[in-house]
């Protein structure tokens, strides 16, 4: 049996990190995620974790690089502006194929923006964010329970693929309190041996080197090809999504994270009015559930993507369905969270437009 608690999302995530055997945390305070650092500085240290409040997010991510390279299970967390500062380091970590967890509790931007929830960092999270051709595995929780659950998954995926994994949450998920049950998890059963780590060279092996520098173009291209092959494997094996009442749906909402929960309520409201609505919720934002969306597009009349941004994931949805169905978008920004009623109204608008198009044909 697990352990049932009432906690903030940020605290639940931090508690799960301790239970997942995270050995070290390096981070810098920023709202709305500072509870992660605070919780670990207290509870994490008590339970043996190395917790260092760094001088900046730039330093934090490079400490993560060093510690991961030394073989540790390690993480950092921040919110949007801080994650922007980390991008160079994340690119190095991806290129050097070091496992780690990076948590982004997304706040509204651009610039200093607002401390309220947002999904404005979708592009940054899923398209690389830093320089060069690399990808993060991106998990998008939609509840405090998942803020905890995805930590174990993130560390395991990071180790399995030797790739940085991002948990992309938002300010609301970080701050709200819900019940959360901590699963039984024994890190020793999950953390693999790391013979590549720089732990000190015994006479029996060559020196281990962790680097992302390959000055020969042919070598650098080979490394890129190998990384791309890894990302294809990740896409084939790790794509995760959830559906709600899509079986008979004529119109499908597509939303992730906090907005997926609100969209779920909008589906219930629509159904109560006799509208055959459904929901597809990407759980991994990278890899993106393109195929299930393409399959759905064969049999629904339209899709409405709802995000807390100006329209970012909607581009991936449109690429996925390849023009088979109309894809409408509704977005709120600046820290505004859309309501179920507002989403239902947008859904009805889209239905009207689609029906008018059908009549015109």
């Amino acid at each position: 049996m697990g352990d049932l608690r009432l906690m903030k999302g940020n605290e639940a995530l931090a508690e799960a990190a301790i239970r997942a055997g995270c050995q070290a945390y390096f981070g810098y305070p920023i709202t709305p995620q500072s509870e992660i650092l605070e919780y670990l500085a207290d509870e994490g240290r008590k339970r043996g974790m190395i917790v260092l409040q760094a001088e900046s997010e730039v330093a934090s991510i490079n400490m993560v690089y060093g510690a991961s390279g030394a073989g540790a299970r390690v993480m950092t967390s921040s919110s949007s502006p801080g994650i922007s500062l980390m991008q160079e380091g994340i690119s190095y970590i991806a290129a050097a194929e070091l496992p780690c967890l990076v948590v982004n509790v997304n706040r509204g931007g651009p610039g200093l923006g607002t401390i309220q929830p947002s999904q404005g960092d979708y592009f940054q999270a899923t398209k690389g964010g830093g320089h060069g051709d690399y990808r993060l595995i991106v998990l998008a929780p939609s509840s405090v329970q998942e803020m905890a659950d995805f930590v174990y998954d993130a560390f395991d995926l990071a180790d399995k693929y030797r790739n940085p994994v991002m948990i992309l949450a938002d300010g609301a998920l970080g701050q709200m309190m819900e019940k959360v049950e901590f699963r039984d998890y024994n890190p020793a059963d999950h953390i693999p041996p790391k013979p590549w780590a720089t732990t000190g060279k015994p006479p029996t092996r060559e020196a281990n080197v962790i680097t992302s520098l390959h000055i020969q173009p042919e070598k650098m291209e080979q490394i890129n090809l190998r990384l791309q092959e890894k990302y294809r494997q990740v896409t084939a094996e790790e794509t995760r999504f959830e559906t709600v009442q899509t079986g008979d749906a004529e119109f499908v909402l597509v939303a992730y994270g906090l907005v997926a929960r609100i969209a779920h309520r909008a589906v219930e409201l629509a159904r109560s009015e006799g509208i055959r609505a459904g929901l597809l919720r990407p759980v991994t934002l990278y890899p993106f559930p393109a195929k299930p969306l393409r399959d759905l597009a064969q049999r629904v009349h339209g899709m409405l993507v709802v995000e807390m941004n100006a329209g970012q994931m909607v581009e991936d949805v449109r690429l996925s369905v390849e023009g088979r169905v109309p894809v409408a978008f509704h977005g709120r920004m600046g820290g505004i969270v859309p309501s179920p009623e507002e989403i239902l109204a947008k859904l009805k608008n889209m239905m009207t437009t689609v029906e008018q198009h059908a009549e015109a044909r």
Binding site: L52, E55, N62, A67, T198, T199, G200, A207
Partner: protein
């Protein structure tokens, strides 16, 4: 053919000096006369003589020494520009019984990485920082460094560094010496056999202090850049003594009480 004869001739001599096992077989890519290869050599000799090869982890910078891991036969990481001390201290926190050093140039340590340098030293992270100061950006082709001397010509200070446009040479070693976290701060050079012996002592002491968990040890090496300075190696060393030493005088800056 000449090499074969040379090896036969060598057999007639007594071996008084060998490349340490702590250096790999690769030939240094450094320019003739550059101090980097000597410092690599001395550092690795110290690691060998102390018998700590299997316990030592190094961090290479971005700059001319970016390929240090091709030469130093210890486990190594290559850090992002300026972040070698951040990576090194994290390694040390994970593996507190290992000897960890960051090897950095003046642009890496005293420009883009100043914040990491200051805070690593201020926390007294128990690592060794080896700082090569040749007052120029060598790898990128001779641009002005934070330590470039006033009046010194570089590709980005073509008429000579002026205070008006670029401020003063940054004496970062004196700065870190003021921080309570540093235990041993010294400035050395490698332009004479005696200087090399002094550096060797400084590096040995630094690793001993690290074993005793005393805090950050910081060893600056005032060095040269014949290519960037557009001089022969001999001219470069003479220029260094005449112009660099008055601003960056060799010697201990902070010694344990």
């Amino acid at each position: 053919m000449e090499n074969v004869l040379l090896e036969e001739e060598l057999e007639q001599f007594e071996c008084v000096y060998e490349k340490p096992d702590t250096l790999k077989e690769a030939r240094f890519h450094y320019c003739p006369g550059c101090g980097h290869s000597t410092v690599h050599h001395v550092l690795m000799e110290v690691v060998e003589e102390m018998g700590i090869q299997s316990e030592t982890i190094g961090v290479a910078p971005v700059g001319c020494a970016v390929f240090a891991y091709n030469y130093m036969n210890v486990d190594m990481q290559e850090a992002a520009h300026g972040r070698a001390s951040a990576a090194a201290l994290a390694i040390k926190r994970i593996l507190p019984d290992r000897y960890v050093y960051a090897y950095q140039g003046d642009g890496d340590l005293a420009a883009i990485g100043t914040a990491e340098t200051i805070h690593t030293c201020n926390r007294g992270e128990n690592i060794l920082i080896v700082f090569i100061n040749n007052a120029i950006y060598g790898m990128t082709g001779g641009q002005m460094a934070p330590t470039t001397l006033l009046g010194m010509k570089t590709s980005t200070s073509p008429t000579g560094r002026t205070v008006e446009t670029a401020g003063y040479p940054l004496k970062i070693t004196e700065v870190v010496a003021t921080l309570p976290g540093t235990y041993y701060v010294t400035r050395q050079s490698v332009h004479t056999p005696n200087a090399v012996r002094q550096l060797k002592k400084a590096l040995t002491k630094s690793f001993q202090y690290q074993k005793e968990k005393r805090g950050t040890c910081f060893v600056e090496i005032v060095s040269n850049c014949p290519s960037g300075w557009k001089m022969t190696p001999v001219q470069a060393n003479e220029w260094m003594e005449k112009n660099m030493f008055p601003v960056y005088p060799p010697g201990d800056i902070k010694i344990p009480k």
